[in-house]
Subunit: 210 residues, 2 copies
């Protein structure tokens, strides 16, 4: 099983490996060499072998990797062999986009609740999920064994709501609010800071213009 | 001005510096030491000094940094001292969320067009932006000097649309489609692969459970 000290850079590449392996699997391809994987993914074969060695190697060099085995093993490392129950807090456009994204469900990330402070939204449905008022949030989380809270609310509300959710036992946040959450040890946060990403793009544009 | 060889890790931290400096500026704080910045941002003061040294340092150690100067300089490096004109291709929930996000406008990223192949959406408005049919895309891009195309369309359409946009002169993509775009040198791509991000979160959860 995975070592705890694996670098963030390696971890960040795992979902990409999984995506390409999934595409090979869908095409009915059973085996792939690190060189072939290298050509598809546009990283060096040596990088791929180094990455995989973090997890015991997954297969024989020369002979190549069994696609389905590799896909399943990387899936296990990423924890997508289990189902995760999600709620979204903030049922605006972004929250709706996420709940509607069926790819997450296929990966085992299943939204079972949506919450918003806007009363006009409460009672409406996103797919088959009813939007509920914020005063039902804590009870819902306690009763439904939620794994991940997705925060698509403004930054000034996110810190308070995250604190309340931690009290209710939430151990993981997928945070779209543009603020760093200060969470106790054992609570995981993955941030998607969209404007940071957009600024990285404009940085690259600036560099190229010079 | 910035060196070309600055590491991605440093670049990735710049928007976060900008965010915290913006908050200090909004609070009317004029000077900040690297130690104070370190406390707020939860990175070491040494890291901050190292990061800033990539760009000439920005100020005197001991005496600290002028907040507004530092904010403006980092803004210039990130290219947000200029206005960027954006279009979004894909006016579903995610596309609508992005166009509606006023923070981007404040940073100089201004949406001026939205496109969708769904005829039912065409003619509707997101803020004051009319959703147009895909057959108007190329002409619009050529006539309006667009800097950034935001792709919020499925992966099977993204590659084709990106190719067409490159032919029309688009030099930068903010890509939400779950596919790697193969672009010529000089065209910049910043990916937001949401399911990759979600899998990184489930990886962290798995590690902590063990």
């Amino acid at each position: 099983m995975a070592e705890k000290e694996i670098s963030q850079a390696v971890i960040s590449r795992l979902p990409r490996y999984l995506r390409f392996l999934g595409e090979l699997k869908d095409q009915g391809i059973e085996r792939v060499s690190s060189q072939e994987l290298s050509d598809i993914m546009k990283v060096t074969a040596s990088q791929i072998r180094q990455d995989f060695n973090n997890f015991g190697g997954f297969g024989q060099q020369g002979y190549g990797y069994n696609v389905e085995f590799l896909y399943n093993e990387i899936g296990k490392i990423l924890g997508i062999d289990k189902q995760h129950k999600l709620i979204v807090v903030g049922a605006g456009h972004l929250g709706q986009a996420l709940v509607n994204y069926t790819n997450f469900t296929r990966r085992g990330f299943v939204f079972i609740g949506a919450f918003d402070k806007n009363e006009a939204l409460c009672g409406t449905k996103i797919r088959d999920i009813e939007v509920r008022p914020m005063n039902e949030l804590k009870d819902f989380v306690k009763k439904n064994d939620i794994d991940i809270a997705v925060l698509t609310i403004p930054k000034d509300q996110a810190v308070k709501v995250a604190g309340e959710l931690i009290e209710c036992g939430i151990k993981a946040f997928w945070n779209f609010a543009h603020v760093d959450l200060d969470v106790p040890k054992g609570v995981q946060v993955e941030n998607v800071h969209l404007s940071d990403s957009l600024m990285k793009l404009s940085y690259s544009m600036t560099q190229f213009d010079e």
